[in-house]
Symmetry: C2
Subunit: 178 residues, 2 copies
DNA sequence: ATAGAAACAGTACGACCCGTACTATACGTC
DNA sequence: GACGTATAGTACGGGTCGTACTGTTTCTAT
């Protein structure tokens, strides 16, 4: 039962926040919830929903209980230490600067033709927009998902702005190209 | 001289693209160039400018020559294999979806007061904007930095849009708050 | 000329993170 | 009750990260 000392990263707090919302959850449920909330602002591979709760439990921030038969699911929940760590972190007004990683820009920097990427990119943002709007509608009725609604709203605003940006960066096709 | 097989990641290509621009460079020079070009779209810790070229050289994508005395600087340059890998990658119109990582949104999701973060965030984007505009002015005269200018221009557009977004997300202060 | 401070440049390192590939369980249905 | 599909979970090792640290050069004052 003794906790080893682990470093809490932003991803750790993301998990703690999710579990704070969910009360208790299995990794699979955590992954579902991520997809409908923080995925746009803190994407992680699905294995994180399995690895990180185990790590957090080893540090004493989560409790675990394991199902006997079948899939032998583990259910996680915040401990007092977890709740305390989470609220201390959230209360601190310092936040790391946002980071954007965009392989498309890298390719353009490497000499690729920007025009080859604009249209697929627009499509991608439009799809994301539709997806988030769907989640928003789905969850906005439910008071328990209020916080998800906030980040989904921010996500919608973000993708709209990115679409505007793409429009502005698109050179007017005045026939001079080539 | 035999090359071991290594996996090329987006970061690898970022380095290759930089060296393609610079002709040859030491890790320190690479880091400088990163700060004035791709930093906004592909941030990496400064140690990457040392680690990754060594890795790339071990894979045969870069050549190295080491200074004798003093700092014993290593100078890297593209090999034919490096040049080829870079252009094959750039020519492929597939690109991974952009990823945004924003700890602020995570804190808001965790229950923090959004208003505590809006103003610092505006300030941050404004500073970035000024910084990029400075780099742009500095480099735009120089034909050799044409590609940097492209990504800097995109960066400027990005930060402007983010500032607009923050304005839209800011609740009108109509005295109902609190 | 030389000590000390400041700026510049480079390295060590181990915990953490990631993508890929894979395995296992449950459910539907014929 | 065998098969296909969707759901759920694990293994693994290379890649990545931040922190702390060391070493070199230049600057400044004396």
């Amino acid at each position: 039962m003794k906790s080893k000392s682990i470093r809490l990263t932003s991803t750790s707090y993301a998990l703690l926040a999710l579990l704070d919302q969910l009360g208790e959850a299995t990794p699979y449920e955590i992954k579902q919830a991520m997809d409908k909330s923080i995925e746009n602002f803190w994407p992680v591979p699905h294995t994180t929903a399995y690895d990180e709760p185990a790590r957090l439990a080893s540090g004493g921030y989560l409790s675990v209980s394991q199902e006997e038969g079948g899939r032998r699911r583990k259910t996680y929940a915040l401990t007092a230490a977890g709740r305390e760590a989470l609220s201390a972190w959230a209360a601190d007004p310092e936040a790391a600067a946002p980071q954007l990683r965009d392989e498309t820009i890298l390719k353009i920097f490497a000499g690729a033709d920007p025009r080859a990427f604009l249209e697929p990119r627009r499509t991608w943002h439009r799809e994301k927009l539709a997806e988030l709007e769907g989640y928003l509608e789905e969850t906005s009725k439910d008071e328990a998902w209020r916080r998800s609604a906030m980040v989904l709203t921010a996500g919608v605003a973000y993708h709209r702005k990115m679409l505007e940006m793409l429009d502005e960066l698109t050179p007017a096709d005045d026939g001079k190209g080539g």
